[in-house]
């Protein structure tokens, strides 16, 4: 007998709100990586370091009485400062060295957090720190409606963007995408409809939980607002001449140099801005967990961000958001689905036990996500929103 009742939990507003918070935190985190790698070509395998710095700075400062907004900004600045340090010491080196050094730095930062107990309480972790909107336990109807208004505005804007993307006639290079690429258009339409349905579901869940106000709903609203702002600014930046220089560095930094661009400085800016964004994501990571210790900042998290960026298509901010949504949707769906279908799997493959304990199920899910990535890379190596023709270009 299959028991799918667990899956219904998935569709309760409370669970969806948690899912939105996780997704948005990782989307923010991955947007920083996408700027560094997707747009500038910097191989950063230590992205979690920025998040660690952001999270601990925010939490520790706010415990000392620093206002939250200020604490987050200082956290972001320190994360950017870490980017500056890494950059000054490594960006002159070749790309693969940068990858090795960044992963090393992220481990150093985690080990500092583990061992400097006077500051971080080591593995015992930090808890009961101030959270945003904590004082707001029973908002008035007006403030509830105001929050739902903001929520609606963000979703309306996102919907409008989706609409424009679906029906746009010209792609980034100004070519007509409709003519001759009907299959592409159908794929695009399917993706848009799926995104729209998912969006409506999330909108409903968010609006309902903002009305039955809980702390998580407030955090979700703040986070999604910050994510929307960061996304909007990043989109403007990568379309500006500034972003053009970053893309030029990604393609061939010698050309950028030969045309008078200070490549080193632009790489630093990219590393610092991406780091600052990850630092802000770190603050939200700490707030949603309401307890942090160094175990939450292992290198695996960096590679989850890489998965998200690669899934969506490198150098595409919308793709990164989509990648984060898919990653967490997969993560949550399988959390419920896998135990439910385990008996059936057991009937087919006896090697799979009929009841999966949490550890095994977790490992199994990660295996499947790896498999899915391999399949995706074979079928669509450019990522979901990437452009296939870009892969066939010679250097």
């Amino acid at each position: 007998m299959l028991d799918f009742s667990g899956i219904l939990l998935f569709f309760t507003p409370g669970y969806l709100v948690s899912l939105i918070i996780f997704t948005a935190t990782f989307a923010l985190f991955s947007l920083g990586l996408n700027l560094q790698w997707g747009f500038t070509g910097l191989i950063n395998f230590g992205h979690i370091a920025f998040m660690t710095v952001g999270a601990y700075t925010t939490v520790l400062l706010s415990m000392k009485g620093v206002p939250l907004v200020l604490a987050v900004l200082i956290g972001a600045m320190l994360a950017a400062g870490l980017g500056l340090l890494i950059g000054l010491s490594t960006l002159r080196l070749r790309e693969d060295y940068l990858a090795i050094v960044t992963i090393g730095v992220s481990e150093i930062i985690r080990l500092i957090a583990l061992n400097e107990e006077w500051l971080t309480q080591g593995s015992r972790g930090v808890y009961s720190y101030p959270l945003p909107l904590e004082a707001l336990t029973r908002p008035t109807l007006i403030s509830k409606l105001g929050m739902i208004g903001i929520w609606t505005a963000i979703f309306a804007l996102a919907g409008w963007q989706l609409w424009r993307w679906t029906w746009q006639r010209r792609d980034r290079l100004g070519q007509d995408t409709r003519e001759g690429t009907q299959p592409g258009q159908i794929g695009k339409l399917t993706l848009s409809v799926a995104t729209a349905i998912l969006g409506l579901l999330l909108y409903w869940a968010g609006a309902v939980s903002l009305y039955d106000y809980s702390y998580k709903a407030g955090l979700m609203l703040v986070l999604v607002t910050v994510l929307a702002l960061v996304y909007w600014r990043l989109e403007a930046l990568v379309r500006s001449p500034w972003g053009r220089v970053l893309k030029a560095i990604r393609e061939d930094e010698e050309i950028a140099k030969a045309l008078g661009k200070n490549v080193f400085w632009y790489k630093l800016q990219s590393l610092m801005l991406g780091g600052a964004i990850a630092g802000i994501a770190g603050a939200f990571y700490a707030w949603q967990l309401s307890f942090i210790n160094p175990d939450g900042f292992i290198p695996l998290i960096t590679f989850q961000a890489w998965t998200i960026v690669v899934l969506g298509g490198a150098g595409n901010n919308a793709g990164t958001l989509l990648g984060a949504a898919i990653f967490w949707a997969y993560n949550s769906v399988t959390r419920f689905l896998l135990p439910a279908i385990a008996p059936a799997l057991h009937a087919i493959v006896p090697a799979i036990p009929p009841t999966l304990d949490e550890g095994r199920a977790g490992a199994f899910r990660i295996m499947i996500i790896g498999l899915l990535l391999i399949v995706l890379m074979m079928a669509r190596p450019q990522g979901i929103l990437g452009k296939k023709e870009e892969l066939s270009l010679g250097r």
Binding site: L173, Q175, K247, R250, E254, K257, A258, L259, L393, G394
Partner: protein
């Protein structure tokens, strides 16, 4: 064998109004006056890689307004000399003066900003950017390249972009790439890449362009087109230093030719002088 007397011919005198027409907008460099100043003067350049001295005490100068050639057998150190002049490789010793100022201490991007743009032996393009974006990147002093100004000066940036787009289109038109404007640069053929590279160099309003083998691997018709462009741009006041193995190109374009062999200066003179120089013939054809 180094010729110290300034080069006499002045290409600017023969400027016909119709020729420079299509580039009238993009011209920024002042017409070179009748004083043939050396725009670029390098002396005593030395660079060794391990035990190999690739460039040994090389001197070169490029007269303002000229098209100067740089030839020599393979491995003579021509491309290394380009790298030293543009500081893509730092010289062990030697001085480089550009426009009267020493530049050998500057970073390569600073040299480019001062108006000396180099191209590459194997044409390099930004593959996953459009041809137009390749061109736009080259424009100098862009307000929108400053991180903070992208927040506060959006109107000015939009206006600049429009203006640069027009300039880029004019140049693309003149090099025959207008129909490729919105294609990925990576989709261009080898010859088209050479043209794009030159157009990109022009887009930055330089004083001097260092061209590394503009005619290599290019079909004869396109070679003529490239030579034509170089002559037109030169009449508009641009100075060129050109590495080339194709002697027809060197003979038809250059006012003066420098010859390198085995990392040393071998000869300098007018194309006809060089063609009849016994040492040069020996270096090219062997003893």
């Amino acid at each position: 064998m180094v010729d110290e007397t300034p080069h006499a011919s002045d290409p600017v005198e023969s400027l016909s109004p119709s020729d420079g027409q299509d580039l009238a907008e993009v011209k920024t460099v002042d017409r070179p006056n009748n004083l043939p100043l050396p725009l670029l003067a390098a002396s005593g350049l030395i660079k060794s890689f391990g035990g190999l001295v690739a460039v040994d005490q090389v001197s070169i100068d490029v007269t303002n307004g000229s098209i100067t050639g740089l030839i020599g057998p393979n491995g003579a150190g021509k491309t290394t000399l380009f790298n030293l002049l543009s500081n893509f490789i730092h010289p062990d010793k030697g001085r480089v003066l550009f426009d009267g100022e020493p530049i050998h201490q500057l970073q390569s991007y600073q040299i480019a900003q001062r108006g000396m743009i180099r191209t590459f032996q194997v044409a390099r393009v930004l593959s996953r950017l459009s041809v137009l974006e390749n061109m736009l990147l080259a424009a100098q002093h862009q307000t929108g390249e400053n991180f903070w100004l992208t927040w506060f000066k959006q109107k000015q940036i939009a206006a600049e972009e429009r203006q640069q787009r027009e300039q880029a289109m004019t140049i693309l038109d003149s090099i025959g790439l207008a129909h490729m404007t919105h294609e990925y640069a990576g989709a261009l053929s080898g010859g088209q890449r050479k043209l794009l590279e030159m157009g990109r160099a022009l887009m930055s309003h330089p004083k001097l362009i260092l061209l590394d083998e503009p005619a290599a691997g290019v079909n004869p018709t396109l070679i003529n087109q490239i030579c034509d462009r170089i002559l037109t741009w030169n009449r508009d006041g641009l100075t060129f230093l050109i590495i080339e193995h194709n002697m027809d190109v060197i003979m038809s374009l250059c006012d003066r030719v420098w010859v390198l062999a085995e990392g040393r200066n071998l000869a300098v003179g007018s194309p006809t002088e060089i063609q009849t120089n016994a040492q040069v013939l020996e270096a090219y054809l062997g003893q």
